[in-house]
Structure formats: structure tokens, C-alpha cells
């Protein structure tokens, strides 16, 4: 009850700030001179953001936004104007605490900046919700990023980012940052890049799909990022996890050329290494998990995973020491081995005791 009362009190404080929350409307048949009403929608999301007050909701109807005339320049009528944050340009700049949703979802609502700006969308404020399940956006045409976000209480949901050279979703947490139910597809860079500058500011990447990217998901070394329940499929590299306290659990890592690489790089001294627990590694071409040398005395935890049909090693140890990979299922009740259906473990990988049956991964 004490917790509930406290929560209600905090909620009251937050709500009092947004007491007159309104809904603004944006549509492809809107006008930039409009007031963003339901019957006189604006044409650009940027105008709605300019008119909005903190706590407002912006509803975006289907169609194309951004570089509307597709000439790769800021010159057309009805194009997003965005703005700059520390010299980083964005087609849509969300610099207020707002909720921005599409009415018909990412498949029908496209923000394409045509290479004009560094990111298609940038979030520079706290307390922002961008998209929801079936109410997100397709983001493309940023020079580097589909979406770049930095702040706390930032929730990015239901969006698709594609064809971005650096990252589909670049998520920098300053407290609470969550990406759920998004898709990163065909990015020549990274699908989801989760970092923070302070311990205690993790990014939650949950229930997303990273498909056919150069690198599916990457985490920085600072903070315990949580990579949970994602489907990471058909990427050149499934995940790159820097040494740190990140937790990688309940993911399906399937059909990638390389699986998870735990890199030796660390931004600062670490007490604990990444935990790779209860994931399903199926049909990856090279090693499902590869451990590179990291900070001395900081072990990686690899437990209760399924290693199935890996063409290379289930776990490859590229360090000078040993890697603890006990209690995993290696595809056969007999443990790791060279005969199908068992997956192999590399040299200096401790595998016993091993699981004799497959772990259920939701």
C-alpha cells in the first residue's frame, strides 16, 4: 500500500504538469497553416511538435513524411523541418515530452528523410513515447540513424528502421529507455545500438526483431543493458556485446552468419561480465557465441542456452583462459560433440555438467 500511495503521489505530480493534455493531428492532406485539429490537420509532424505542449499526444495518419518530393534537399512544401541537437540534424526532432503515434502503424506511415539529415527522428527530451504496438512508424533516409534517442523515460515501440548506415535505433539511456516491438531491417549498420554514459542507466531492448542487418544488436559496456526476448535473424553478426553487466536472455538467435561476440573492449573497470542465459541459438553458420579477451577476472556467464545446428562451435573461446559454459543444452542428451545433432564446444570451454534436454524459450 505504501508503494501504491507513493506511485499515486508521483503520478499526481507528473499529471499535474500535463493537466491540459491535448491531441494534435497530422495527415497527408493537412496544411502547414492549420492548427493540427482533427478536422484541420497539419501536414508535418514538425509543425505539430512546435504547436504541442508538454504531455500532448500527436496522432499521425498514414502516408509519407519527410523529404516529400524526394529530391534529397530541404526545399519542398510540406517537408519536415526538424532541427539540430549539438550539430546533429534530425528530420523530426522531438524536444518536448510528448506521445507521438501513428493511426495505422509502421507499414502505412513512413518518415523518409532522403539522406538530408543525420537521423530521420531524434528524441532529445525526457518523457517521450514514440510509437506503440501497431501505432509506430517506418523510419528511413537518415544519413546515419533511423531513430536516435537520448533521455530518460523514453519508450520507443512498434517502429521499423531500415537502410541506415550506422544504426536503425540508436538508444542512449539517461535513466529509463525502452525499445519494444520494433523491427530493424536491412540496415548496413547496426539494428539496435544500446549505450549509456552512467551505471544505472540501462537500455531495455525487448521483443524486437533484428533481421538482415550487418549487426543485429550491440550494447555498450556501461550499465546492465537488458536484451530480452528478441528475434535476431539472418544478420551478418547477431550481437556484439561489450564487456559489462548486460543480460542477454530469452532471445532467438537464428540463421546468422556469426552469433554473439563478447568483445574485449570496456569503457571502464567492470565487476561482472555479460550474462548470456536461456537463449536459443539455432542454425547459425559460424560460432553461436564467441568470447574475446576482456578485463582480467571478469567472467562471462553462459548458462541454460540451447545450441542447435551451429555450423561452427556452440561456444568458441578466443581468450587465454577458460570459459564457463556449464548447464547448456548442446543439441543432444550426450552433451557437446562432433556428431550431429550435437553442437561442439571450442577449446578451453567448460561444459560439464550439461543439460540433457532442450530449454523452453518462449
Amino acid at each position: 500500500m505504501r508503494h501504491i500511495a507513493l506511485t499515486l503521489a508521483i503520478g499526481g505530480v507528473v499529471m499535474s504538469g500535463f493537466a491540459s493534455a491535448a491531441t494534435l493531428h497530422v495527415a497527408n492532406n493537412g496544411l502547414e497553416t492549420a492548427a493540427c485539429g482533427a478536422l484541420d490537420p497539419c501536414r508535418t509532424i514538425s509543425r505539430a511538435i512546435n504547436l504541442a505542449m508538454p504531455g500532448d499526444t500527436i496522432l499521425v495518419r498514414p502516408g509519407r513524411y519527410g523529404d516529400v518530393n524526394r529530391n534529397g534537399a530541404y526545399d519542398g512544401l510540406n517537408e519536415e523541418t526538424g532541427g539540430l541537437v549539438s550539430a546533429n540534424s534530425a528530420g523530426v526532432l522531438i524536444d518536448k515530452p510528448l506521445t507521438i503515434l501513428s493511426t495505422e502503424g509502421a507499414d502505412a506511415t513512413i518518415i523518409d528523410m532522403g539522406g538530408i539529415t543525420e537521423s530521420a527522428v531524434r528524441i532529445s527530451a525526457d518523457n517521450v513515447r514514440f510509437g506503440e504496438r501497431n501505432k509506430g512508424f517506418t523510419l528511413t533516409g537518415g544519413q546515419n540513424f533511423g531513430l536516435a534517442a537520448q533521455g530518460t523515460n523514453v519508450f520507443v515501440t512498434g517502429n521499423t528502421a531500415t537502410s541506415q548506415t550506422f544504426a536503425g535505433f540508436y538508444l542512449v539511456s539517461a535513466g529509463i529507455m525502452e525499445a519494444r516491438g520494433n523491427t530493424a531491417l536491412d540496415n548496413p549498420g547496426t539494428g539496435f545500438l544500446a549505450v549509456s554514459y552512467n551505471r544505472g542507466d540501462p537500455v531495455l531492448v525487448a521483443g524486437n526483431t533484428a533481421r538482415s542487418n550487418q549487426l543485429g544488436i550491440a550494447t555498450g559496456s556501461i550499465s546492465a543493458h537488458r536484451i530480452i526476448g528478441n528475434k535476431v535473424i539472418n544478420n551478418e553478426f547477431a550481437m556484439a556485446i561489450n564487456y559489462g553487466e548486460s543480460r542477454i536472455a530469452n532471445n532467438h538467435v537464428v540463421g546468422n552468419r556469426w552469433g554473439i561476440a563478447v568483445n574485449g573492449y570496456s569503457d571502464e573497470p567492470q565487476n561482472r561480465g555479460p550474462q548470456i542465459v536461456r537463449n536459443n541459438f539455432s542454425g547459425n553458420l559460424a560460432n553461436s557465441v564467441a568470447i574475446y579477451p576482456g578485463p582480467e577476472g571478469v567472467p562471462v556467464t553462459i548458462r541454460e542456452n540451447n545450441f542447435l545446428g551451429t555450423d561452427g562451435f556452440g561456444v568458441a573461446n578466443l581468450t587465454q583462459g577458460t570459459v564457463n559454459a556449464r548447464h547448456n543444452f548442446w543439441g543432444a542428451p550426450t552433451g557437446p560433440g562432433f556428431l550431429d545433432p550435437a553442437d561442439e564446444a571450442g577449446a578451453n570451454v567448460l561444459t560439464t555438467p550439461f543439460a540433457t534436454s532442450e530449454f523452453a524459450i518462449p
Binding site: 497527408n28 498514414p62 509519407r64 531491417l185 535473424i233 539455432s282
Partner: protein
Amino acid sequence: VTNYNEGILMKHVLNALAGALACLPIVANAATIHVANKGVDAPGCGTVEAPCRSISAGIAIAVEDDTVLVQPGRYGELDGDDVLGGTGEETGNFTSTVFIDKRVKVLSTHGAAATVIRGTSSRAMVVYIFADGAQFGDRNQGFTVYGANSHGVSNNNMSAGKVSGNIAHGMAVGFYIVSIGGEVEISHNTAVNNYGWGIIGASAGDTAGSTFIHHNTVVGVNNSTGIAASEKGAHRVIANHISNNHIGLQVGVGPSRVMQNIITDSWHAIVYAGQCLFCTPAPTGTPLIVRNSLIGNRYSALWVSHLAEFPLTFRQNNLFANGNGCAISTSTTVNIDARQNFWGTPSGPGFTPPSAGVCSTHDVVRTTPFATAEIPVN
């Protein structure tokens, strides 16, 4: 009283048993064959305890009406050499990586985002279905297919069946599904970055076979066509989302119904050639295109060829923010019934943004009465 109630109860039980027995000849032998990345293609495989490694082995064991249930992982070409024949790799047939030649269901346990079939560049299709009534995938139980030199999923000899819940990526055609008479369902699939067509629903040969294309997502590339519904058949193209193609949707002459689709960010949203060079006899009925949102496309919402010979009904659609202001662009001489559309403003068609207009060299497009508010399409 007790005996009476027991008698009623027994009667119900007997009726239920009789009903169940009546059904037995159809389903009694239906079995589930299991396939997993931890499996081995060995005699007796296919059980939960000893799954097969390849879908092909599962299909070989199955009999009609069985289900081949596939766990997450990679299937098809496994070792990266782009050639089939290795341990655990699919066998398919000369033109496909997975060949479904029986009336079976092939489903995944965890959906397309966790279950991949990798084709090879030496075979035309990833999956080829040659069995009437077969099913490949279902909503949340499909596959990701890629890597063939032409098609993701294709079929023949089907008048019924279903292709559902799959993702086809980066080939010439994502899904090429033909019907020889009845209706084949193509639903809840995603076709992404296929450079020819995302989905083709076609009537085979001289038949009026039809497809039911619904709730699919098609994202194209430069010169691609999102969805094509062929001439002759009464295809139903409903509630699809189509974007980033040259042609969002191409519909042939015939009684097809195109409804509740959202088409955006393509060059032309819908193209109608209106001509059927190989239709003997001529198709019965003409396309009905209603309640679609065709917005934010680069050139026009509807483009009709000057060679069109058959008219078109095009009503209750939302038409605005299409590149050059021409919601309808044509030089045809056939009639286009374009009444009750919403042209972006309550004042009807025009060329002052956000209105969209008609660009036609002949007075064949009827636009009044027009809608004065956006039309809900869902």
C-alpha cells in the same frame, strides 16, 4: 430421476461418439511430424524425442492431412556453400529447396522471425507447393524464406490451400501463387525488398482461379510491383499495406475486388491496364476498387493505360498527397466510375493542395458526387 438424467447423459455421449466416429475417416490418421535443428534425418525421425533435421525429411514421412511442425532455426542451405546436399540440408526438387508434394500443413512453432529457410542461387524457388489443399505457414507460424534465384514461395496445381504468416525477402518475387479453379489464400505474409513483385495472385492458364490476398505487408524497392492480381479470376485483395514500390498494386481485367488496402510511398498506387490479350472468352465482370487509402505516392493514386478496353469501378477511396496532384491519371477512352471518393478536401477534386484532381485526356472519369470527408478504410 437419476436414471433419467443418466439416460440423457448417455444419449449425449453416444451422439457425441457417433459424431466423432463420423469424423474419424477424415482425421483419424492425421499425425504431427516434428522437425528441429537438433534433429537428425534418420529412419524413424519425426517424433518429439527424435525430430528430423530437414523439412524435406518430414514431408517425406508425412501422409496427407499430416502436419509437419518445425522448431526455430535455420533450414535449407546450412553450411554457406550455396549448394544443397550436405548433412541435414533440404533436398527439395530440381527447382526448389523445399518441395511440398502432398496435402500437408507445414508450420513453424515460433513464427517467421525465428525460423529461416535459406534457398540456393541454383534453384528457382525456396518453397514449391504442388499439392491441392496444402498449407505453408499460418499466422505466427510461418517461415522466413530467402536466397533463391527467383521466387520465395510458389505453387501449382492448387484450387485450395493457404500460404500464411511468412516473410519473403530479397528475391525477384516474394510469393507467386496461382489457382486452377477455387480460391487459394495468401494472408499475413510480409514481402520485403523483392525487386520484381512482392505478391502475385494469378489465375492459371485459361481458368478463372482466384486468390484471396489479405492482411499482407509489402515493402518494395525502386521498380518493384507490390501486389499483382491477374486477369480472369475474382481475386480478393483486402486490407493489405503496400509501400515503396514503383506500382503498389496492379489489377487485371476481371471481377476482382480490391478493398481496404493502404498504399503509400509508391510511384503509382494502383495501375490498371484494362486489357486482356489472352482472355478467351472475355472475363466476366470488371474490377471493383473501393475503400482504399491511396495517399502519399509519388505520381498518382490510379493510373489507367490508354489501351484499356474494359471499364473500372473506383469508388469511396481516399486520394491525396500523391506527387503531381493527379489522383487519377489516364488517357483511356473507357469509363471510370470514380464517384464518392475523397480528394483531400471537402470541396472535391482540384489542384490546390491538399486537393487532388483528375488528369485525363478524355472526359471519361465521373467524379460527382464526391465524399466530403475522409473515408474509414478499416
